[in-house]
């Protein structure tokens, strides 16, 4: 039993972190709010193999596992990289051009009544998942209204009053895998968001002075930061376990491990986002400081691939079975 990252995994995380620092610095990321997804940078990300990480080498992928994907997505979340990252990875090998970034794919669960489709305005293809399978629709064919003010300025959403059926591209089992893997990847993004919000808050707490000393010296702030990193560390254990378990290197069923990770992720990321705002005081509520971006992204991810509160209800059933 070895829970530590391998040297290769550490190197992978560092590589992605360096890539994000160089090509997804916060100015470039924020520019996409106005300019839309930067397809050049998206392509660069694809080129490094981020989306094809778990695709077999024979299929043109990198041939790594979901544990590695978890480590990579943690870094993407930490850097607030925008765009349908999860869908791109899920669609690699399934939809032409997803892996290399030339086709931007997004996804939405089928629902009764109107639906909110993330990234519709940036995408070429929308994959709808339901109990019967996976269905593909050209994004342009989705009639709807792009929200004037999406909750997360970097996650555009389009309101669709009735989703079309679409062309089937996967059966029920494929849809299950889609949701399971998507849930793990989203939890990994949340982990990165929680960690990024914590780093931002801790950095500010060390620098900002009030009453003649850094605010991080005050227990009210110090203990809040301690609670933040506590959530991050517990979540990290759950997310890495989920990744390893999807690779068949875990103890539990993948369904359980992924549920656990997503449940923890949904509360930890939002709580760290809120705490990051609070540690920054008034500045934390400004558009200029990134604190709100972490929080908003955390909220958005909670709504994708299984809300924490619904997954918790499902998980409980296992306690009495």
């Amino acid at each position: 039993m070895d829970f530590e990252l391998s040297d290769d995994q550490v190197a992978l995380a560092e590589g992605v972190a360096a890539l994000c620092e160089g090509r997804f610095d916060i100015e470039s990321v924020r520019a996409m709010e106005v300019d839309g997804l930067d397809r050049g940078r998206w392509g660069e990300l694809a080129e490094t193999g981020v989306f094809s990480l778990c695709l077999a080498e024979d299929d043109g992928g990198v041939g790594l596992g979901w544990a590695e994907a978890a480590v990579v997505f943690e870094q993407l979340g930490r850097a607030l990289v925008p765009g349908p990252l999860v869908a791109a990875t899920l669609a690699a090998g399934l939809i032409e051009g997803a892996a290399d970034g030339s086709t931007v794919v997004t996804t939405v669960p089928r629902s009764l009544g109107p639906a909110m489709v993330e990234h519709a305005a940036w995408a070429d293809v929308v994959v709808i998942s339901d109990d019967q399978g996976l269905w593909s629709v050209p994004a342009g064919a989705l009639d709807g209204v792009d929200a004037n003010q999406p909750l997360d300025p970097l996650t555009p959403v389009r309101r669709i009053d009735a989703l079309p059926q679409g062309d089937q591209i996967g059966d029920a089992a494929a849809a299950d895998a889609w949701r399971l893997r998507g849930s793990m990847l989203t939890a990994a993004l949340q982990l990165g968001i929680a960690a990024g919000a914590t780093e931002l808050a801790v950095g500010y707490a060390k620098e900002r002075e009030q009453f003649g000393r850094p605010i991080g010296a005050f227990q009210a702030v110090k203990h809040r930061c301690a609670d933040m990193i506590t959530r991050v560390e517990v979540l990290r254990a759950a997310v890495y376990a989920a990744g390893a378990t999807l690779d068949g290197r875990g103890a539990d069923s993948p369904e359980r491990a992924v549920s656990v990770a997503k449940i923890l992720a949904s509360s930890a990321a939002a709580a760290c986002g809120k705490d990051c705002v609070q540690v920054h005081g008034g500045m934390g509520y400004t558009w200029e400081v990134d604190a709100h971006l972490f929080l908003k992204r955390a909220w958005v991810h909670d709504l994708a691939f299984g809300e924490g509160s619904e997954l918790a209800e499902e998980l409980a059933a296992g306690l009495v079975s």
């Binding site: 629902s111 009764l112 009544g113 109107p114 639906a115 909110m116 993330e118 209204v145 929200a147 004037n148 003010q149 999406p150 909750l151 996650t155 959403v157 309101r159 900002r208 009030q210 009453f211 000393r213 010296a217 005050f218 227990q219 009210a220 702030v221 809120k274 705002v277 609070q278 005081g281 008034g282 934390g284 509520y285 400004t286 558009w287 200029e288 709100h292 929080l295 908003k296 909220w299 958005v300 909670d302 709504l303 809300e307 509160s309």
Partner: protein
């Protein structure tokens, strides 16, 4: 102890209701573009003028200064009824009505009063507040905007932040440092800054909700006549705090009433949200949380009345305001969490809840972030409650 209103109080309420029901149908809705502060100013000052003409302006100001001189309880009724009726909020008149005006009443010279008080009541002058600075935050008294003594004038240079409606204000109540060597509370002076003075640059501050009322002010050698000073030089800290004596526990009345409306709407949303087998309302956990929040808002409404009663009897409220604010922030944040749970993916955009509600629960969720920050962070409030109410020793701040 009798929570019923007296005949006089009920009479006041009836008169107010009658007036509101007469005028409100002709009051237009708020300007749609909430970033258009010029329109907002016009809207809010129009309403202020209507209040003035009906005798409701300066409801808590003494009659000798043009106010109505109402009791705290009447003040409570006024705020309750206007909010319930959906009347405009105090808006751009906030600083003039509630802060600068009362300070002038208490501390200004007769000349200053006669220049400024009536125009505030009539909606002619809009005031803003230049207290906070980027470097001072919770430690307001550490402010560093410098006033150099230059004959009949102060020459002021520095930066202010969180100045609501600076873009459209006529005057600013400004705190400046007139003695850099004195202990931090002892070198501050309170001055009236005309917003058309040269050297003032204003930049809007966008918040997590986008563009709005906030601004930064950059002051570069702004010349302010010493005759605009209120109170003595270096006595500005005391002058600033004198307005607290006007506090009557009424600060959050509109908020409590509107929170109750929001909560009732959340309950209605719960009945509309479909879940696997039924609606969110079928979920006992959600009903329980709705009920708890309803109880807590009700208790906060009682606490408000208690604070107002105390003000009516003793002329002031103690740290009851801090207690209220701590509890209120907690309730509103839990309401926001519940809204998130109820809306699900309908919460992905501000202003479109997929027809589940007409209210902007997503915007409200973001707004609740300010409740533990603005007007004294919860950390500072807890220090106040711990030290002033409980007598615990001061430590690190």
């Amino acid at each position: 102890m009798d929570l019923r209103y007296t005949d006089e109080e009920e009479h006041f309420r009836d008169e107010l209701r009658t007036w509101l029901s007469g005028v409100l149908p002709d009051v237009p809705p708020l300007p749609e573009d909430h970033t258009d502060l010029v329109a907002r100013r016009a809207y809010d000052t129009d309403w202020q003028r209507m209040l003035y003409e009906a005798g409701y302006a300066g409801i808590h100001w003494p009659a000798e200064f043009g106010g109505r001189g109402s009791t705290p309880t009447e003040h409570l009724i006024f705020l309750e009824e206007t909010e319930r009726a959906g009347a405009p909020y105090v808006g751009v008149n906030f600083v003039g009505q509630l802060h600068a005006g009362p300070t002038l009443i208490a501390e200004a010279s007769d000349a200053q009063r006669s220049t400024h008080l009536a125009p505030i009541l009539k909606g002619e002058h809009v005031w803003c507040q230049g207290f906070s600075e980027p470097g001072s935050g919770s430690d307001l008294a550490s402010l560093s905007t410098r006033a150099i003594d230059d004959g009949d004038d102060y020459v002021v240079t520095g930066q202010k932040i969180w100045t609501s409606f600076a873009q459209v204000a006529d005057y600013c109540e400004l705190l400046v440092r007139t003695d850099a060597d004195a202990p931090k509370h002892k070198g501050i002076t309170w001055v009236i800054m005309p917003m058309d003075a040269p050297g003032i640059e204003i930049r809007p501050i966008d918040t997590a909700l986008g563009a709005g009322e906030f601004a930064e002010m950059f002051l570069d050698e702004v010349r302010i006549p010493k005759s605009n000073r209120v109170g003595d030089e270096n006595d500005g800290w005391r002058v600033t705090n004198v307005t607290f004596a006007f506090e009557r526990g009424t600060a959050f009345i509109s908020e409590v009433i509107s929170s109750q409306r929001l909560l009732a709407d959340l309950a209605a949303v719960a009945t509309r949200v479909t879940r696997r087998s039924g609606t969110a309302w079928d979920d006992a956990g959600i009903r329980r949380e709705l009920g708890r929040l309803d109880a807590e808002l009700d208790a906060l409404w009682s606490l408000t009345k208690r604070n107002v009663s105390q003000a009516q009897r003793t002329g002031m409220v103690g740290p009851g305001g801090s207690v209220f604010k701590l509890a209120y922030a907690d309730v509103r944040k839990r309401m926001a969490d519940l809204a998130e749970q109820l809306l699900g993916r309908a919460g992905l955009a501000i202003g479109d809840t997929l027809d589940l509600s007409d209210l902007d629960h997503v915007g409200e969720r973001l707004y609740t972030l300010t409740l533990t920050i603005a007007a004294g962070t919860s950390e500072i409030q807890r220090n106040i409650v711990g030290e002033r109410l409980l007598g615990l020793p001061r430590g690190d701040r």
